[in-house]
Structures are given as C-alpha cells and as structure tokens.
Symmetry: C2
C-alpha cells in the first residue's frame, strides 16, 4: 500500500484524461508512455515520461505496466441509501407492469420508504459499506449520493447521517444531496401541500443546520411533483445554501428543464423528453445535463437522452449510473460507457469525459476531481486494458486492475479473469 502522504510516481502508463480546454469545453490529453508525480495526495506533475522532473525519480514507483490510466469515475447521480433491494419487483416488470403501476400498487419507491423507515442507522451503514466497496471496485472514486427513501424528518436525517458517517470511514468521496421531495409518502397522499410544507419548514432547516447536504434535488414529474412545486422547493433549498439539482423530463416533458434553468440548478438529470429549444437556456444558466442511460436500459425504453444534440449545442453532457433499487441496480460505470456509446452515440472520449470531468461539474467538484491535471486529487484507475475503447467495447465485465484515491491504492483485483488484454497493438 502506498500512502496518500508519500511522494509517488506512476510510470509506464497510457494516460488518457480530459482536461479543461482553453476557449473550448474540454479536450483529451494522452501521454504514452506517460508519468504522473503525486505528492500529498495531489498531482504535482503529469506528462510524457521522458519529461518527468528529475526530483520525481526519488518517489516510490508504481508501474502501470503499459496499461491504460484514466481519472477515477465521478458518479454524479446515485441513490445508494436504501435497505433491501427490489429484485422481487423485477419479474412483475418483465411481465408487463409499468413503473407507475408498480408504484400505485405500493411498490417502487413506496416499498423502499417503508423498508428504510424500519431499518436502523447502524443497519443502513452495514448495507451501504459493500455498495461503496463495489463502486470503488468498478473504478468510481467519487459519488454523489441522495437521500429520498425516508420522506419523514427523522428518516431523511437518518439517511443523510448515514452518508456523513460513511464519508468519514470510507475512502470514496461522498457528496450528499437532500432528496426529501423524491415522492409523496403514503401518509401525505391526500394532503400533498402539507408534505411540501414539511420538506420546506421542517426538513430543510435541520438538513442545513447539520450541514448534511450540499445539494437539494426533486423528482419533477406530474405524478410526483409538478414544475411549480419543484421551483418552490428548490428555491427554498437555495435559501438554505443548498444548490439545486432536478430529476427533469424523464417520463414526460413537464417543464422540468425550464425550472432547472430558472433556479440555476447545478445539474438537470434524465432529460429524455427535454425539447431542443431548452438547450440554450440550460447553457446560459450553467446547468450541466446528466444522462442516465442505465435507467432507460432497465426500463426497456426506446427513448434515451438527447446526448448528441446537447453536445452539438455546446453543453457539457455528463453521465451517471442512477444507481437505485428500482430503475437501475448497476454501480458499474463501465457498462454505462457502453450504453452511452451504443444508445447515446457518444464516442469513448466523450463518454469518459462525461463520466469524469463533466460529472464533476455536475456536483461542483471539477476543481478537485474529474481529470488528471496538476493540482487535482490523484484519483485514478489503472485498467486491465490498453486503449480507452476497450472499456465500452468489451462489456459486462470489470476491467479494473488498481484504483487509487488521493494517491493511495484502495483496490486491486487480485486475479484478473478477463479476456482480451493485448500485448501489443
């Protein structure tokens, strides 16, 4: 194990990373053979190996063995704070029940809410630990994580406190988001206005007081929260210092992207039904569009997000898993790259950028993570691959070899059972 405080140098690497462009949104940097000099957990120098500063040669050497090195993934949209999974609903879905039907029958989010309320904080911590380990093991070094299965003051606070506790004890960076407005809980079903008051007047002050979240999010669909309700709740969150995010236009175009622009949300997520005329509005307002193709895949949708259109509009399109027990039980961002390629028609370079630098922008972390540049945290992955294209191309497996967080090796795949690693080009 290398230590985060040591000076280490990664050599013999095929480094591929997005970098912040000058006069452009981003560009791809490739150094092969490349080297990276890390000091106190941050990147001090990165470039082609021949130009490595002489003083770096004293540092502990990590040999990348001519393998691909990229930034760790930033998964900017996850819902990991739940109790039991919902595999039992899967067969219903296959037999034709829709998401909305399952919800009306008491399943979906409502099942997870009943379940989370019965689960103690300690049990939740134990449930989450292997999930966080699995994110790391699949190459993700930072996650945004939402509450939203509590839907009561006590249970929303419990969810966020679980994240706070885990972010202290787990190497992964966790950026917490308050999602009290994820669904109307059963006991408020006939008095939704009172639930909105509960979110604004009871939950928000406590979340802010405990510094339990950096963002506020809402599930904006007419059968959950309307655009007007979203505007009101997100603005209330802003008053408490939480930056808005929004689940917008996933199932219908009900004005969610418009709300995102109005409240200057840090991101608008899903966007399957967002009309083209919104692209300029999102750009002016500095909203990062987040595509979640894993959820479209899992819902057997034929409509995926408008990634190509938004890239053409100059928007910094981001990607995330949407990891959650109902619509995307997948923490492997490598498969999300595959879906981004096959369904969103994003090139490997666009998809990597979307899953690292742009994802970091979607959670306002782009100054610390999301690319391998001098001054940034040394969060990176050495892959059992030699070219970037292999990650989306050879799909459904885990290409990770070693994962580093702040220069420290936090995961290594002991024996690597995959095919297709080449010795040459």
């Amino acid at each position: 194990m290398s230590k985060g405080t040591d000076s280490v140098v990664v050599k013999n690497a095929r480094i591929v990373t997005p970098v912040t462009g000058e006069g452009e949104l981003w560009r791809m940097a490739e150094y092969s053979p490349g080297a990276m000099w890390i000091d106190a957990g941050c990147i001090r120098w990165i470039g082609v190996q021949a130009e490595l500063p002489a003083e770096a040669t004293k540092a502990t050497m990590i040999d990348a063995q001519n393998r691909l090195v990229t930034p760790g993934f930033v998964d900017c949209h996850t819902h990991p704070v739940f109790g039991r999974h919902r595999a039992h609903e899967f067969e219903l879905r296959i037999k034709g029940a829709t998401y909305v039907e399952i919800s009306h029958a008491g399943g979906g989010i409502r099942f997870s809410v009943r379940d989370l309320r019965q689960t103690s904080k300690e049990e939740l911590v134990l449930k989450l630990l292997p999930r966080l380990d699995s994110f790391i093991a699949h190459g993700t070094t930072t996650i945004e994580a939402k509450s939203g299965y509590g839907l009561s003051v006590e249970d929303e606070l419990k969810s966020l406190e679980v994240l706070q506790a885990l972010s202290r004890q787990h190497p992964i960076d966790i950026v917490p988001t308050f999602l009290g407005a994820h669904e109307i809980p059963d006991e408020y079903r006939d008095r939704r206005e009172q639930y909105i008051e509960l979110v604004i007047k009871d939950m928000l002050p406590r979340v802010a007081e405990g510094r339990l979240a950096r963002f506020i999010d809402i599930f904006c669909e007419d059968h959950v929260f309307t655009a007007a309700e979203a505007r009101r709740i997100l603005l209330a969150g802003k008053d408490y210092g939480l930056r808005p995010k929004i689940h917008a236009d996933q199932l219908t175009d009900n004005g969610g992207a418009e709300v995102a622009a109005e409240v200057q949300a840090v991101s608008a997520d899903h966007l399957e039904y967002t009309p083209p005329e919104m692209d300029g509005r999102l750009q002016e307002a500095g909203v990062v569009p987040v595509m979640l193709p894993g959820a479209d895949f899992f819902l057997s949708s034929s409509l995926y997000g408008p990634a190509r259109r938004m890239i053409a509009s100059g928007l910094p399109v981001a990607l995330a898993t949407d990891f959650n027990p109902g619509t995307c039980m997948c923490e492997n961002m490598q498969l999300i790259l595959t879906l981004a390629a096959l369904q969103l028609k994003m090139t490997p370079a666009e998809a990597l950028t979307a899953a690292t630098l742009h994802a970091a922008m979607a959670i306002d972390m782009q100054h610390r993570v999301g690319s391998l540049e001098a001054g940034k945290q040394a969060d990176f992955v050495i892959w059992h691959a030699e070219s970037l294209s292999e990650l989306p191309y050879h799909f459904g497996i885990n290409h990770v070899w070693q994962v580093f967080k702040r220069g420290e090796r936090i995961h290594e795949t002991a024996t690597h059972p995959k095919s297709g690693v080449e010795d040459d080009d």
Copy 2:
C-alpha cells in the same frame, strides 16, 4: 480445494434448477434449504436438506451459506478463437458505420481472419487461456466454441486444434464446432464456388479425420452464404458425421430457419427475422432456437429475437453470449440474462433454463450438463445472491462466488465487491 473424485455434499443451499419435465418441456425445481451429494464428479442425490441420505453425512461438506445455487451456465454459441480484439472498430461503429460497411472496408471478420492467420497455435493458446478463465469466473462451465477466423485449410485446422489442446488442459468443457463457412475469405472473393469446394472437399475430411469438431455451422446471410449454399455445406458436414448448426435470419429473412429444419440442425441461432410460420417446422425437426441478445444489443438493434413467440409455440428457447470480437465482446452470461429479461421479456426462470438446460440441448449435451439432477455432472455455481431474480436485476456486475466443475471448486471470488446481498427477505 475439493477433488472431483471425492464424495462431497453441498448444504445450506437455495438450489434453483430446471429439470426435464414429464409431459412438458421443463419445470423449475427449488430446494431450500437444499442439499446435493456428489460422488466421482456426478450428482448422486439432490433434494431438500432434511431428506439427505444418512450415508452422505460422511462426505466433505461445502457450506453454501444460504446462497443461491444453480447449474453452471452452458454457453452454446461462442467464437473465442481469435487473435487480437477489435476495439479499434468500435468508434467507427459508434460514428455510424454499419457491420456490412466495416466488412466491405476490410474490417470485421476479414480483419480477424488476416490476424488469426498471422498468429501461431501457441500464441492462440495463450490468448484463449484468460478468455476461458473469464467464462469460468462469470459462471459458465461449458462452452460451445467455433472456428471460423481461419478460412483456409491450415488455419481452420489450427483453430480447432487450439480448442482440442485447451479442452485437455482447461477445466471448462469445450464443445468444438467447425465454422469454415463463416465468411468468404478475400482471396476467394471472386470465386466463391471454389471456396465452397475447399470447405467441402478439403477442410471437412480433415476436420472429421482429426475428430476436431462435433458440429458444423455456417453464417447464412445473402451477403455471405445463401440458403442454398448453407444446405449444401451442412449436408456435406452431416455426411462426415458433424451435426449441423446455422446462423440464421440475423439480418434478413433469407430462408435460414427453413434450411435448419430441412437438415435437422441441432440448433438455429439468431432468428431475429424468422417468420412465425417457421416455429412449427423447427419444432417438428427438433431444432433448438438460440437467442443471442448480446449481439442485438451491441449492434444497437431495436429488433431482438422472437423469444416469447417461440416459447408460446413450445420451442425450447436457448440463450448464449455469441462471444466474438466483432458483435458481442461479452462473456458474462449474467448480463445476457438481463438482456433476455429486458428485451426478450423472459422471466428469470425462463432465462436460467434457456442458459442451462436448453443451451445444453442446443449442443446435444443435455444428458450430461445443463441441470442439477441425479446422474448429471456436478457443474454448479454458488452465487453471492439469494434469489434467482437478483442475477438479471442487479446488472453489469459479477455475482459469482464459487464455481464447481465435476464437483471440484475451480473458481472462487476472493473478496466480493458487490452490493445488495441481503441477510433476509
């Protein structure tokens, strides 16, 4: 390590397996808590734990720790004998080039043919070893494996000899298929009739003489081999004792399924464009339909195979990966179950049966593998899961805990980084 010749007993298992039905195609058997007594690599007894025969208690115990146990997957359609992967073509595909366009430009199968011809038998063995390890690591204990990237007498024999060598040294069962008629090689492009003669008169006798294959297969599409050519080549193979298989109706309905019925192929694979009126013909002829949703997924097709229709027609629908470097670089059958559920609308039980018992039928191995029944080979997987639905539901990861072949543990996932394993229901 338990030894294949020892007597071992698996206990505390949630066993889920298809079994050959009486008066029906198959049914699902579940034993929970279940036990399985294995002797000399074969299943001597299986059932509910309370009924375990007294003499079995002397056997070495394998504790499944209340986890799901299923048969190992039988992957009845793979193309693993190639040199380098084709990740470099992936970006072209994303940018809009079609499979046929890439082929016309010298890529696709033609790239792999040039590459394989330059690769020695020894190098190929080294390339294949990690691929076979990866099949095992993802829960597959038997594969059908095709030649088809040689397309010359020498290189087709080399491909099959590689499989023969590996089946002696690797624990996975390999069932070899001769696919000399995979494509017309470049040097015969203007004289296809002579290539067909080469397959029939030069390759086939050598393959048969060396007992290098059990099946003969062909890629039947009008731009490759027509239905008439397929009929002729498959019948020639039959004369040499090779049972026919066929790549049929993947891109167009050009009569491939009809040929399958006529020559009484053991399986017809792909079938995306097979018309409904063929279902009865396939059934009468005893042809197993093999769905390959991984290839449809990778080709971003909206048309998947007619699994539900064929199940309704009483056909024993099978599933396979189609692992190959061009259209499905995926050896993880768990993700194929997910695709089968989401796109083919197969239930978890139907998908498991398709990937085990029916897949075994597609390679005439159903008397030895494909289900956990007394007398069969003890090829099984203990999963980091408790219910069958979890395998397709929690997707893009590897749920395998331990893999057994003929009662011997051949793989174990040391640390298991996945989320969602539950302690109770």
